[in-house]
């Protein structure tokens, strides 16, 4: 299993690994202390960790590393990145190259998320003003 990290110099402890059925909000203020949270995808098609990621980033303001593990494939990358993941464990050939391309695969996004990209609705509003 290869590990792809956005910033390999960052500390990886203290860390916590969660099951995708855990209530991330129970971490509460604890997240400020954590440097790494690992969320799991038992199956490619089990998308619970996307909601966990958004709650960690958006609701709890978690700033550390957020890692996806399990059934992590390159075709999920645009979604994973938008939900705030910034490190990935995957054994799929070509994953690293796909990671480089993933952010530019779609120049347009419709949803506001915690990745900081401006959704189309905001761009349109700005162009009208």
């Amino acid at each position: 299993m290869a590990l792809y990290r956005q910033d390999s110099s960052r500390p990886e402890t203290p860390a916590v690994t969660l099951s995708n059925t855990d209530d991330v909000q129970a971490l509460g203020l604890e997240v400020d202390r954590l440097k790494l949270i690992v969320l799991s995808f038992p199956k490619f098609t089990d998308g619970r960790a996307y909601s966990q990621a958004r709650l960690l980033r958006g609701r709890l303001g978690y700033k550390g590393e957020l890692r996806a593990t399990g059934a992590v494939f390159l075709d999920q990358l645009p979604f994973l990145l938008r939900c705030g993941f910034d490190s990935f464990e995957s054994d799929q050939p070509g994953f690293g190259e796909a990671l480089h391309r993933a952010r530019s695969l779609f120049s347009v996004v419709y949803q506001p998320t915690e990745d900081g990209r401006l959704p189309v609705s905001a761009l349109r509003l700005a162009s009208r003003q």
């Binding site: 909601s51 779609f106 120049s107």
Partner: protein, 561 residues
């Protein structure tokens, strides 16, 4: 290459929408290449192709093309005809979800077919898979007399928000949203995962009733009210909260218990409401709140065509009505009142006697596109009853429109009648089906082909599904027919009393043991005879059934077999 899009009275893509669809085609082209080279296994490829509308069916790949809120321009319909000719066998099938299915697509052609669609601002994104599907609406939207507000404005807002939603692309199961803007619901909002009904409250404000957990399939349920009145600008925040609760807590251990209706049923609507409202409270004032300018900019694009009011009487119409009985019947069943005086909404029946419901050849699609261009402001709708709608026809043009539609085979005066049957593709195409649906529909259609008799029988909705997944909506048919497989024999279970009219949404009750395929026509005939003998003044089939109950129908039907 892109075509120039003519002016329409519905949403126009801008450069952002076009960029997204083009990038999606490029992404899928790469995924198909990786599949063909063996880099992706079928197991890995399946969820990717499904979210681009590509199914692997019994005989070939099937491409399901999204027709958002059932609205099409003549130019778009012509492009669909082109695609059917070039990449398929020259015909397509309009579905109960206002989509178009092509049944004979080759995998290596699929990216080119999607690129061709993109030329007219169309796509097949999210027409399958466990995510938010193409949003459906009232097929009379923008023309109906009883409309409070055009629901398509909100469908488009939801379409954009749900397209490639990063959090909700791997839900427990598929998620269908329908929106109606009329008190007379024509979008079946109570049998969707989420149904939205625009209504005006006592303060005169328009908002949504949010209905959750309806659905057909193997566990049919009528949706429950989650929120009585939701301010319009809070729609996306409320939907995001609802979907988040479903994504986190919806069951994933059993495919058949994974829809939101099961979650709502198991935890109860009160607990569901509590969870959704708690989540909603956190995000309601955030980035999902819709700015008035955003709503207005989209609403403007749905501004109705500038129709000049005309005289409602037409000598030409009157003359032809007296001369031709079929035209008179067609006026009664296939035209509906328009909000502008002197106009009508015309339904082109895709159910000529004996034909597979909802099928149209490329030539017929081109023909309907011509008619729309000549006489309906270049616009069309696809109805969930698998017909095509010409929304803006001047009354004096009705004779021309009827003749032109009849020439194409779409002028049958049977809308809402016994031969206006909804049927799923069934075992002739579908990998899930247990029994055939189309041949059963065709036999019933042939048996009741006589138009005067159909009009005497009156409004009667027959809906046929080839398996318990209920794509033919048999649960809500006045007469519902469900194909089942008993030890390799196709049998049909008959139910009565289903309905989707608003306020009366009801699920049918099974009459008794399933009947053999060659007995279905006799069975339906005996049900109709019972009704004709027992009906009271002005009663439709389903009204008589409600009044007298199942027993007389049951006795007659099983006695006749």
């Amino acid at each position: 290459m892109r075509c120039d899009m003519p002016d329409t009275h519905f949403y126009h893509y801008d450069s952002y929408d076009r960029a997204l669809v083009a990038e999606r085609v490029a992404q899928f082209r790469d995924q198909v290449r990786r599949r063909l080279s063996g880099e992706l296994t079928e197991e890995q490829f399946k969820p990717l192709r499904l979210t681009n509308g590509l199914y692997l069916q019994l005989h070939a790949y099937m491409l399901r093309i999204a027709i958002p809120y059932g609205t099409l321009s003549a130019q778009q319909l012509r492009k669909l005809a082109d695609i059917a000719r070039k990449y398929d066998r020259g015909y397509g099938h309009f579905t109960t979800r206002q989509n178009l299915q092509l049944n004979w697509i080759k995998l290596e052609d699929a990216p080119d077919a999607l690129a061709a669609l993109a030329e007219v601002d169309m796509h097949a994104i999210q027409t399958s898979g466990n995510l938010i599907r193409n949003v459906t609406a009232d097929h009379f939207a923008g023309a109906a007399v009883d409309e409070i507000e055009d629901p398509r404005i909100w469908c488009e807002i939801v379409r954009q928000w749900s397209t490639l939603h990063p959090e909700f692309s791997f839900l427990p199961r598929k998620f269908k949203i329908a929106i109606t803007g009329s008190p007379n619901d024509r979008a079946a909002v109570r049998v969707h995962d989420v149904g939205l009904r625009l209504w005006r409250n006592e303060a005169g404000e328009v908002g949504f009733e949010v209905i959750v957990g309806g659905g057909l399939g193997r566990t049919p349920m009528i949706g429950k009210t989650l929120r009585e009145f939701l301010p319009k600008d809070e729609l996306l925040a409320y939907l995001e909260a609802t979907l988040r609760v479903y994504n986190r807590y919806g069951r994933r251990d059993n495919l058949y218990k994974a829809r939101i209706k099961i979650l709502v049923h198991e935890i109860g609507v009160e607990k569901m409401r509590e969870d959704v409202e708690a989540e909603y409270a956190e995000i309601k004032d955030g980035a999902l709140k819709l700015a008035p300018e955003t709503i207005e900019a989209i609403a403007r694009q749905f501004a109705p065509p500038d129709l000049v009011p005309r005289k409602p009487e037409s000598a030409a119409v009157e003359r032809l009505r007296l001369e031709d009985r079929d035209f008179g019947l067609w006026l009664k069943s296939n035209t509906a009142p328009h909000r502008v005086p002197g106009y009508a909404i015309v339904t082109a029946s895709l159910k000529p006697a004996g034909a597979p419901p909802g099928d149209a050849s490329a030539t017929q699609m081109d023909g309907v596109a011509d008619i729309a261009e000549l006489w309906s402001e270049g616009e069309l709708r696809v109805s969930h009853e698998q017909n095509l709608v010409l929304p803006h026809v001047a009354i004096e043009h009705l004779p021309s429109v009827w003749k032109a539609l009849s020439h194409l085979g779409f002028g049958e005066a049977n809308v809402g009648k016994i031969t206006d049957i909804i049927a799923c593709p069934g075992l002739d195409y579908c990998a899930l089906a247990n029994a055939r649906s189309i041949p059963v529909a065709q036999r019933i259609s042939n048996h009741f082909a006589d138009l005067a008799r159909q009009h005497d029988i009156g409004d009667l909705k027959i809906k046929i599904s080839g398996c318990i997944n209920a794509c033919g909506h048999h649960h809500v048919g006045h007469i519902g027919i469900l194909g089942v497989d008993k030890n390799g024999v196709e049998l049909y279970q008959i139910s009565l009393g289903g309905d989707v009219d608003f306020g009366k949404t009801a699920l049918g009750t099974i009459l008794g043991p399933a009947v053999e395929a060659d007995k279905v026509v006799e069975a339906v005939d005996s049900l109709v005879t019972t009704y004709l003998e027992q009906r009271g003044e002005g009663e439709r089939f389903v009204d008589t059934y409600r009044r007298i109950g199942a027993e007389p129908f049951k006795e007659r039907m099983y006695g006749a077999l």
